[in-house]
Symmetry: C2
Subunit: 127 residues, 2 copies
């Protein structure tokens, strides 16, 4: 397998394991010194143990489903639908890999719904 | 060039043209029946002419810079830093291509800053 394929499989395993709270398998996808960043809150978590704890303790009854996955070289991007009950949220994650094809860095975006600005109603439909 | 390379170049041209408001060049990257979607507002725009008008009329003095681009097959993803004055915003766009390597669909996410929830301060640093 190319390193790109290995990283893509690591990311698929990462989400499948997160979905069922299999933190042992989840941990095998991560580089020892994985770095997690959330640009929206400007939070950063360093290292596998802290990142595992963050995920283990993350509240809520969420499930994840991959809507899109795009992989090139040492980069993978996923767009998730995250089910938390009534409505699905979107999450976008940018991954980079280490030399072994494990996840070296994750940058997450959690875009929230908002009301469209006025002035473009004639161009758009709502769905 | 592979179709993947053609689409990637179309996306690079799309952002370079948007950055300098060259709507003629921007339009050449788009499929006639391009579909633009904003899941956060649940807005959809159909067709090149309406989508060009939407972009021409989009307010503000923004500049865009590609932070990441990931391309695979008929898909491209970009993560942009959008400068609008004081602070840079993030934008993530998922593209798919048509048979000619033009942009057939664009899905944009505009994640906004938010305050981190309490309870994980011991795991994170702020940046």
């Amino acid at each position: 397998m190319t390193s790109s394929t290995v990283l893509r499989k690591a990311v698929e395993t990462y989400w499948a394991a997160a979905d069922v709270r299999d933190w042992e398998t989840f941990g095998t996808t991560l580089s020892d010194d994985v770095v997690y960043e959330l640009p929206q809150t400007r939070e950063r978590i360093r290292g596998r143990e802290r990142y595992l704890q963050f995920n283990r303790e993350y509240p809520g009854d969420w499930r994840v489903r991959i809507e899109r996955i795009v992989s090139e070289g040492d980069q993978v991007v996923t767009w998730l639908l995250v089910e938390t009950g009534v409505e699905a949220a979107h999450a976008v994650s940018f991954f980079t890999g280490d030399a072994e094809g494990r996840i070296a860095a994750v940058t997450d975006f959690w875009p929230e719904p908002y009301e469209p600005p006025a002035g473009r109603e004639q161009l758009v439909e709502r769905y």
